[in-house]
Symmetry: C2
Amino acid sequence: MHLPDSFYLGTLDRVVERIGAAGYDGILVTQPADVAYLVGFCYAVTERPVYLWVGADRDRFVLVPELDRQYAEQQRTHAPVVTYFEYPGVTSPEEHFADLLRHRGLAAGRVAYTSSMSVSTFGKLGAALPDVTWEVSDVVAGLRLTKAPEEIELHRQAADICDSMLAAGRAYIEEALSAGRELPREGEIARHVVGHGSDLIYQRYDHVVFTTKLAGGLVYAGPNAANPHGLPSSRRVQVGDTLILSLGASVLSRFVESERTFVIGEPSADQRRYFETARSAQHVGTEAMRVGRTCADVNAECLDVIRDAGMGEYLRHRQGHGIGVQQHEAPWVEDGDPTPLAAGMVLSSEPGVYVPGHGGYRISDTVLVTDGGPERLTTYPRTIEENVIAA
Amino acid sequence: MHLPDSFYLGTLDRVVERIGAAGYDGILVTQPADVAYLVGFCYAVTERPVYLWVGADRDRFVLVPELDRQYAEQQRTHAPVVTYFEYPGVTSPEEHFADLLRHRGLAAGRVAYTSSMSVSTFGKLGAALPDVTWEVSDVVAGLRLTKAPEEIELHRQAADICDSMLAAGRAYIEEALSAGRELPREGEIARHVVGHGSDLIYQRYDHVVFTTKLAGGLVYAGPNAANPHGLPSSRRVQVGDTLILSLGASVLSRFVESERTFVIGEPSADQRRYFETARSAQHVGTEAMRVGRTCADVNAECLDVIRDAGMGEYLRHRQGHGIGVQQHEAPWVEDGDPTPLAAGMVLSSEPGVYVPGHGGYRISDTVLVTDGGPERLTTYPRTIEENVIAA
């Protein structure tokens, strides 16, 4: 599970060029996803900070806790690995970092950093390096907005796994139905599909790594599905339920989401109406994901389908969001984000209809924006006919 | 899955008393674990912020994204729920929060906040409320250092689940051995034990909720176990391996860790030596967890056992850390933390010995500090005799 060296070297070139042009001596990167993106080190996030330095002179290092030294080296991290022993430390990680900068003659340098840093960390760094001029920079976030071809290939592989997880979830329920067994609980379905996805990943890849998770799933049926972000419950699914399988998977921490709504048994008129509205909005919104249109504009066109069907009161969220090294990242397919879409962006398209006391309807694809139009990386069938689980 | 109202009311009393005494008009709480602790709302953490306000006049509200409204209400969140529609929003969540404060006459108030807030969020709040005086406060972190009796009961329940996960992992390997099957892969063992723990939780509780996870497991054997924070690999465990099961579970987001080292087959002299050293350090370090001693002092006594055995080069980390609503939280059982232990603290005790190319040895208990001495909440057997898996 590695990207070719050329990916990291190309990214480094772009970072160095931009921080140099902005007059910085270098950039301090502290967000785990940014570190994974820039140098390919994926690690368990704890209170122990990881500090990646990229100098305008191409000098770089990644400061990690001692317990991650060997792990970072095994991952062929594209920066020399230096360590501090532990957190909080008699000498703090921030003081270690300050020493490393002082040794480079940058005690009074101009240092860029990313705004995801906590106020606490910023305070400690400022105290350790009182003469540095600190400036927030979105250089790395800007690069991450569009994906390189090598990354898109990982998203494609993750999409294949995620679609397979949907099929496994459906089959799990169908097997119970055909065997005349009790239907599974939401939590059991979640465990089954996440296990299926994890197994596939371990079968397909050596040296599995991830930032936040390999595979995940929210499963909710009946009234529970009216909470877009609820958790699977111990309720058994039952005939008559609307069921959302909201699944995710990652390959080298390149995420996809694939979500489908199923109906167990013959759909009622209400179920058909809500399903078709959600599906139509998703189709319109996905087709609108074209180079040059803004996130806000695409979102409005998508959600208008639901509002125009008289279901505006059942909206609970935007159309979607960017997906990359993080499951949710910029740009945001929402009214407040004026970012124009560009080729290479990977976005979720997942409008939903949530009817309190009844259920929820959401179909999500992970969509690649190309010069030729939107390409759905997730391809599991979307129609109600294909997503009725016969009971 | 609820704590009694009295827990939240008592905590509110203490927060209000302390922020009032410090002269604040109120405190803005943004960390998910702090929100879960103060008002009992556990939610999926995304880019959408949740802002909990607790006024010195006991007035409070929790500002959540619209998609979490119903979910927050179902959890009997101990604060009125108000919403913003989405992130980033045409009107940002921070502007919504500012409006709520202005309506309370606090546009020029003195507001405490926790230092886990990001620089980015702090910048947006500062812009939305330019006349507020902002001050970092550790009021909530201070309260969280010691656990209430109701919370300790949840930790005990989680410990029972975590110990059962250890037994399930061991049995999984023993079954393969006795059936003459191939032994499972590290990733498969992880999936099995996490599934076992999750199933137990769903069986035992209604309305399962969590902040970061229900149950988790790192499983590593042979050379892979020399990385304290590596991930389970696709390598099959084998006779002769040292195997670490590093497991965690939570009940209402009160965590425990329970970790044991097993040897598959008859231990070699080296395996015995490393195991006994790690076990002895863990015993000494746990017994040292007594009221009034400092974290630094306890840690030194614990790790000295390993250094005195001539294995200092195999140390990779401190003795342990606090456990509560977060799996890792203050205090830190490490040289750099002078915090004196107090009754009601819950700590991990988990020194380890890591031999590159050979394997790792770590035994971890979750320990409650009491006036009568340390109480191990996790109780799975710890001796090498009990943790040899006969092959």
